[in-house]
Homo-oligomer: 251 residues x 2
Amino acid sequence: MDRLAEATSGVAEIGLMARASGMGVLAQRLSQLSLLSQSELGTLQKLEKRKEHEADALIAGDSLGVQAPLRFLLSGWACRQRVMPDGRRQIFGFLIPGDVLGTPSGPLTSAFASVVALTAVVTADIPLSDDKHPNNASSLYSKLIAAAEHETEKLLYDHIVRLGRMNGLERMAHLLLELRRRLSRVGLVNGQSFPMPLRQESLGDALGMSTVHVNRTMQQLRLKKLIQCSGREVTVLDPVRLTALADGTQI
Amino acid sequence: MDRLAEATSGVAEIGLMARASGMGVLAQRLSQLSLLSQSELGTLQKLEKRKEHEADALIAGDSLGVQAPLRFLLSGWACRQRVMPDGRRQIFGFLIPGDVLGTPSGPLTSAFASVVALTAVVTADIPLSDDKHPNNASSLYSKLIAAAEHETEKLLYDHIVRLGRMNGLERMAHLLLELRRRLSRVGLVNGQSFPMPLRQESLGDALGMSTVHVNRTMQQLRLKKLIQCSGREVTVLDPVRLTALADGTQI
DNA sequence: CGGGGGTTTGACGAACGTCAATCGGGGTGG
DNA sequence: CCACCCCGATTGACGTTCGTCAAACCCCCG
């Protein structure tokens, strides 16, 4: 097992590793982000430079220097977060394999938030300029960055609605469905189950509630037979009712 | 009193109209957004096309057509919002004179949120291409849009922290300080007072709390001698303690 | 066999929502 | 000019949601 495979062990455990790393999470996600051509994808794959980070490592944010490259998440989970002076933490969103962590400029550069690894992760950097490919990356860049920012913005708006206008049960249902949809795009959903290597503390910091309340909320979803949790994996038992709960369209 | 002045009556009432419309809110804000040169400012001012809208009008959003121009708010207040299927409303942020309402493309195009007028407002459109100025607007465009998106993104992140990790009192204090800072940049703060023509219902829809709780929260801020409200105007009595409250840096 | 990090549980209180009534000011018609 | 009206602000009473503290539990690992 090479070092990359080791870092994706959370995925390997549930038998999805071959699928996730087979055609390449990066290519899969890139093609969805902006409909890149095959040759464009090839170009980016060659430029890719991998790095490994352990849990809790800062993997993007203000303090990473000015010449930050375009950085993707290849495996593992991370989050965009901010810590208040008194220690309270707010998570703005979770990052899963295939997501853009940061761009050389623009909103995702994020002097507003840091990106922190929640598990062991592997990232891929695509440098802004390369001696062998001085020009042709620039057009790809614009497309990729614009698409990634668009996606991030949508998720931010959704997150605000969750925090502002939903109760605990609805927030949790809504977040689980968002994660399922995004994981599904990169082939990480197996049937009705998907990996979720998050501690209840992280869920709480994202959803604006205490760890204890996260626990009781998950418990309620289980009691209602909407989901099922085993280990670090979530199974959606009743997608229809779960969606109705999350959308405020009670059945 | 011409029609434009009538629409800014909320400002005129408190004796700030001359200041706000004198040198031009638009120019004032544009120069802050991206450090435009005098000639660039002149170009944009000439392209500007004004429109008036009454309260509750939809002034930007998905349903306004594809060829949407770059649109600014000249006077009055608006908000970016989304309404859930069951009627619950979430306000993502308030828009004040000088703010960018929407852009021809990119995150601010907002299929994610609608922009609705909260008072009578006047907007200024800067068309994407103009027969007399076919080219030179394009560079300005990029600068303006990038700056506006950057600003919007920062406000979104701040709003998430408010909703997720602050209690009612802190949220209100934090929002009031944000509004004061932004109004100050366009010359709409007079001493320690600024106009705030918002109903408590709107404040509640922004801060994720009920109208009744907004009322009691404002009352607490008044009891603590942090602010003072008269009519549609807010006076910050103790900026230091108010800031400490909003930052979680209790004194 | 401990040990440690994360989860679960209970008890209690604080924050917040809901309902309904009342108040207050600005506008309108008589 | 005054009575009325209407919308939004305010108040009270009560129930729910959620946070906090502290203890117990569980599981994986050394």
